[in-house]
């Protein structure tokens, strides 16, 4: 690379100018906010006592088994939610690829849950899975079960994953549908003529051509699910906390603002690295296999 050529300077200038309004604003403001959180995690911005530098909060939290468990639990929920949401979204995107009568309406209905605020979604689900809710009464009525099931706080987190998928799948669909629709029919026809099965066509044509969109969808769903608080509190398992829930526990129950900031920093690191790992693995699986 010719480091000092005028065209390079010009190129760098264009890049910086492009990044300024978007990334620049983010780094300026969110960068400051995150440094404030980091500062709080080492003893500053204490609301209930004097502020001074200390690593004790990190030592205490990193040694806590509850933090470890909530990191693992949140990672599990986010991973499953993002895989299921993106998988379902691909299915619907492939189906809606070519317009047919009613496909606009269908697309709208599929995306409807996106318009429902998270808390409302949890409330709607609660109505359905309650002890004497719709599902239980229906199962009782059809004699499939003799006693109502308790579905509200199952220990795996199924209800939370269900809610995440209900809410996030439309986002994934919205991100994927454009790129899927822009794949040419000729490519599919050619592949079909060569005798490729539907699965092979999907794997060899759709996945590689929509890789960036898929990564975007995976990243967005993973991060959103990793920060979940309200679904977890209402329908999540009782014996383990999500990271956001644990953070509030440390802050409210323990009154430890600085330690809560440690959990916040861990949460941010986990969502970011988790999302990027997911993107890297999907890249490897899709492009690596083709070679």
């Amino acid at each position: 690379m010719r480091a000092y050529s005028p065209s390079n300077w010009k190129h760098t200038g264009v890049v910086l100018l492009c990044l300024l309004p978007g990334l620049g604003l983010i780094i300026l403001l969110i960068g400051t906010v995150i440094s404030m959180a980091v500062a709080q995690s080492v003893g500053y911005f204490n609301f209930s006592g004097p502020s001074e530098f200390s690593l004790i909060y990190w030592q205490k939290q990193l040694a806590s088994p509850f933090l470890h468990r909530s990191v693992l639990y949140s990672a599990k929920i986010s991973l499953l939610s993002s895989l299921i949401s993106v998988g379902l979204a691909y299915m619907f995107a492939m189906w809606l690829r070519r317009p047919f009568p009613g496909s606009t309406m269908l697309g709208g209905l599929l995306k409807a849950p996106m318009m429902v605020p998270g808390l409302v979604a949890a409330f709607l689900l609660l109505n359905v899975i309650a002890f004497h809710g719709f599902v239980n009464e229906f199962l009782l009525w059809t004699n499939i079960i003799s006693k109502p099931l308790r579905m509200q706080n199952d220990s795996f987190g199924t209800a939370v994953i269900f809610l995440q998928v209900w809410k996030q799948m439309p986002f994934a669909l919205l991100v994927l549908i454009g790129p899927v629709q822009s794949i040419h029919n000729e490519i599919f026809d050619a592949a079909r003529d060569l005798g490729a099965s539907a699965w092979t066509r999907f794997r060899k044509i759709v996945l590689p051509l929509t890789l960036t969109a898929m990564q975007a969808a995976l990243i967005l769903v993973f991060i959103r699910a990793a920060g979940d608080f309200s679904f977890q509190v209402i329908v999540g398992p009782r014996e383990v906390s999500s990271m956001a829930q644990y953070m509030y526990t440390v802050q409210r129950l323990y009154g430890e603002w600085n330690e809560a900031a440690v959990v916040a920093v861990v949460l941010m690191t986990m969502s970011l690295t988790g999302a990027l790992l997911l993107a890297a693995v999907s890249q490897f699986l899709v492009t690596g296999r083709r070679r």
Binding site: F47, F66, F131, H132, P148, E239, Y248, T249, L253, G255
Partner: protein, 363 residues
């Protein structure tokens, strides 16, 4: 040289001015405060529950003083975040701030609130310690309430209701998954029950030493017999939905929900003989409140004996002004006697923490 000293002195003075003014207000004669409050003409009260009812209720104050009261919508958490975030603003939006009594230990009332509030004419009749929290004279209680057990009389007869803690254990074994209490973080009712269970099972010496293991053993042995709900409201909703027949609840909360037809009116409330704590909420005036005088006059009105009696009869609260006469309706007086005080804040917090670590998460 002189000039520089003068400038320095002038700057020092101008910085000292607001602080001086703030101190000044606490030493003014009460009549002056009232006069200035009327000039301010308005007060913004951040209260996180029953806002529509309180908006009706404060009309009495508005008519008496000609000061307009605004009660914004908001949650306990949201209000608290705003309260903390606004600290560095020269003038904040909040004039009067409500906090649950136990939240007083989560921040320093002396730096966040104006005070001490001994300038209030009724101060010696008010409580500054409530619900295991301490306002240190910078916050006063305005709302008292009682925890106990809510039950469905079509499922449990009054005579069969558990009274001692052993009764409760036996009842739970005989009726598995019909009793429930909530996550202590989702509301004080659950916190109250966990504390009472520990107090029933643990000796006084062990309580002092924070050795609560006998209590945790009880929870573990009963694991399959009790329901564990998300919040005060979740417990009552599921009592109403027929999932549970006996749940830990706040008396005023149940009464309020029944009045509005959210929970069926057949549900009843009692205080068991093993005792349940009474609690409450406190108000303070943020140090950077815009309408400080009006806020003082409002807090005085809200905590006065007359208004406390009205809160008791109209909204089901327990009076927290020692001059207020009469007990609220609801449970009979002999049951009121079973009401107990919370343990000290430190012990209460230690119990809630250990419960979370050893019972909820420690499986």
């Amino acid at each position: 040289m002189l000039k520089r000293t003068l400038i320095a002195a002038a700057t020092a003075l101008s910085f000292a001015q607001p602080a001086l003014a703030a101190d000044d207000i606490m030493t003014k004669p009460w009549d002056d405060i009232v006069a200035q409050a009327k000039e301010e003409g308005q007060v913004v009260w951040y209260n996180w529950f029953l806002q529509p009812r309180f908006r009706e209720f404060v009309k009495g104050f508005e008519e008496e003083y000609g000061i307009e009261v605004t009660i914004p919508d908001g949650t306990n958490e949201g209000n608290f975040n705003k309260f903390l975030a606004e600290r560095d603003r020269p003038e904040g939006d909040i004039d009067v701030m409500s906090v649950p009594g136990d939240a007083l230990s989560k921040f320093d009332p002396k730096t966040y609130f104006l005070g001490p509030l001994d300038t209030l004419p009724d101060f010696d009749k008010l409580r500054t310690e409530i619900n295991s929290g301490d306002g240190k004279g910078y916050a006063v209680a305005y709302w008292g309430n009682q925890t106990g057990l809510a039950y469905d009389p079509t499922q449990v007869e009054f005579a069969d209701l558990p009274q001692t803690f052993d009764d409760l254990t036996a009842w739970m074994t005989a009726h598995p998954m019909e009793f429930a209490f909530n996550d202590p973080q989702g509301g004080g009712a659950g916190k109250a029950f966990v504390q009472m269970a520990v107090r029933s099972k643990v000796s006084d010496a062990d309580l002092k030493a924070e050795k609560f293991d006998a209590g945790w053993d009880w929870f573990k042995s009963q694991k399959d017999n009790y329901g564990y709900t998300a919040s005060n409201a979740d417990s009552l909703t599921r009592l109403n939905g027929g999932e549970f027949h006996l749940v830990v609840a706040w008396e005023d909360h149940l009464a309020g929900l029944q009045k509005k037809g959210e929970i069926d009116k057949r549900m009843k409330f009692y205080i068991p003989k093993f005792g349940m704590p009474g609690g409450g909420n406190a108000v303070g005036i943020p140090a950077n409140a815009k309408h400080k005088h009006a806020a003082l006059v409002f807090v005085n009105w809200l905590t006065s004996a007359k208004v406390q009696e009205m809160l008791a009869t109209q909204l089901g609260a327990s009076p927290v002004n020692s001059a207020a006469k009469g007990v609220p309706g609801g449970v009979p007086a002999e049951q009121r006697a079973y009401s107990v005080d919370w343990l000290a804040a430190d012990t209460t917090d230690a119990i809630s923490r250990q419960f979370l670590e050893k019972v909820v998460l420690g499986q």
